[in-house]
Symmetry: C2
Subunit: 373 residues, 2 copies
């Protein structure tokens, strides 16, 4: 009887955004979404779960701090996984009767503004599934009950969260469109923006949008289904310009919906909008779409770009967003990248205020959760 397992799970960044629930408690979305799973080599949650007859209570430690296991979402994931293991008879009944201890941490700061709940719940649910030897079963629906977008972190590569139509949400789950190996060329730069503004949390923000935005109806009914279809094709064709345009358009539309919410939710700031503006200018002047931006419910940009453009785009970003720490390993994190030594002609672009970015993470598309030996 295995009674301890350590797993890691990835972060994912949506290119067609999830915004709005049709059922709050079951976490059922009003539209499909589609994301890229990022490499666990650079960003991941890591969770150790152990079960032992000697444990007197369930415990959970998040980033070194004990949290309340009796949290509704954690309990629900735990009970659902145990139920599924019971039905599948995948492990001894005695193991299911044990209390568990969970120790989870992220290898990236919460301050990065990345959705740690997605990788965190994916890691928890995947870890519990391993503990109970649930190998083949679908578990993305359980991860969804922890945090909506966590269901997409159960798979690597390119992942669609199908909203489903059933009232109980049994058909609302993640599906892999293509593995990371299908398009390993896709690189990612996360520009972490210096920002102190308090913001509307995404849970309450999307609830407010569903109730107050008039435009969200049109987005959900007309725009998203077409975009899911088109971007799936772009991914299958490894058509970067098409993938990039759809990604940028959907990021913009998501933030448009936030602004159409009453009172409005504002997640992007002046620096975010400057990034958008520079990237459009850059792509236009380069004569082709070399890089795409997308913004979640925060000011940080996630840039998608083919590997061959990483050096040039990073040199460009360093030109327009100068930083005192530009040369340090603390500033450009993740997968190392050599900056261009050749002469760059970026003088036509007027730089933005110094130190507007906190740091940059370089990573790429990656695989789903895995066991750490």
């Amino acid at each position: 009887m295995q009674n301890s397992v350590t797993v890691i799970a990835p972060v994912n960044i949506a290119v067609i955004k999830y915004w709005g629930k049709r059922n709050e408690s079951l976490i059922l979305p009003i539209n499909d979404s589609l994301s890229v799973t990022l490499s666990t080599a650079d960003l991941c949650s890591k969770t150790t779960i152990s079960a032992d007859p000697s444990y007197e209570s369930n415990q959970i430690i998040l980033n070194g701090k004990e949290e309340n296991f009796e949290n509704e979402r954690i309990l629900r994931c735990f009970e659902m996984i145990k139920q599924r293991a019971l039905e599948a008879e995948s492990c001894p009944k005695e193991l299911l009767d044990c209390k568990i201890h969970v120790d989870s941490e992220n290898n990236f700061p919460t301050a990065a503004g990345l959705a740690s709940s997605a990788s965190g719940y994916a890691c928890l649910v995947y870890g519990m599934a391993q503990l109970y030897s649930l190998k083949k079963q679908e578990i993305s629906d359980i991860a969804r009950m922890g945090s909506g977008s966590a269901c997409r972190s159960i798979y690597g590569g390119f992942v669609q969260w199908q909203k489903g139509v059933e009232l109980d949400g049994n058909d609302s789950m993640a599906v892999q469109i293509a593995p990371a190996s299908h398009w390993p060329d896709l690189n990612v730069l996360i520009l972490v923006v210096n920002d102190s503004k308090k913001k509307v949390g995404s849970t309450s923000g999307m609830a407010r949008s569903v109730v107050t935005s008039e435009l969200i109806k049109y987005r959900v009914e007309k725009c998203v289904p077409q975009r899911i279809h088109s971007i799936t094709q772009a991914i299958k064709d490894r058509d970067f310009p098409k993938f990039a345009e759809l990604t940028m358009r959907d990021s913009n539309q998501f933030h448009a919906i936030c602004l159409d919410t009453f009172p409005p939710c504002v997640y992007m700031n002046d620096v975010s909008h400057a990034i958008v503006s520079y990237i459009h200018e850059f792509n236009k002047n380069e004569g082709e779409t070399k890089v795409a931006y997308t913004f979640d419910a925060g000011p940080n940009a996630c840039l998608y770009l083919p590997e061959k453009y990483v050096k040039r785009v990073l040199s460009f970003i360093n030109h327009v967003f100068p930083n005192d720490n530009q040369e340090s390993v603390e500033y450009i994190r993740g997968t190392p990248v050599e900056l261009e030594n050749e002469e760059n002609d970026f003088s036509q672009y007027i730089p933005y205020a110094k130190n507007s970015l906190k740091y940059i993470i370089h990573t790429k598309v990656g695989d789903g959760p895995s066991i750490v030996e």
Copy 2:
């Protein structure tokens, strides 16, 4: 034969926004819009037009600088007014044959970011109509040919620009919903924001929105007609809370459409969004809607509010947007307003960065163009 006239015309600020043309050259909009005309006592364009047989060419001076009269829009307004005078036989044929000299200036700086083209073209067209003794005829359609929103500055009070349905645009004109005297209590504070960012002009911005925004279709077909109907009723009822909510929602939706445009048009900045956030917080804490915001294609806020709240709102704005010049007459312009002396309890609101506002203009709803004796 009168051969000289001096007129003034007002600025107007839309509460249901004009954004998008169905015909670029005829300046026909894709949706109705509705605005409040501001008092010429504080903001206006002033134009002197003279006609004389001795003039050898048409001339136009704008804010002290000679401009090209052969500008397509100016010429079109001039020819249309003369044509209408000819048909109406409103003045001697010899007067119509004379060249004219136009001298126009705004009593507010262009830097204020206020749409000077609306008051400017309204003034030009109204002035020419006076010169040729066209007293009763509709001229808002001619002002529209100069600059779309200029048609609304032909009337005082509350003005609807009906988009019309005819291909030649003959039914696209302004209509007064109610005169200023119907709701003289409506005051206005214009918060001029310190900003240096170059922006997409509204003409090219709206053209891009029509072509690239998917959400604009829904706005035009579903949202605007309902809003025009509701806000007209709110104006008739002098129902400030309803007027305020519709105004704020439509400002937000207009900027949402701008963001859904590709590449996006961004007119509001961090200060603009801070104004929005503070006003929602203020209204909520005051227990009633005391003030509404609206933003045109720029970062400046136009606040509508009942007269009795001007002091308190201005005190609030001065608290959250502290300025080194707060006490000077240069900072709070327009109709004088005494600040509250009583104790204000605004300590719960954390002020924004100092000097984020350039200055404030206090004015109110006002009448249409008039002759200066």
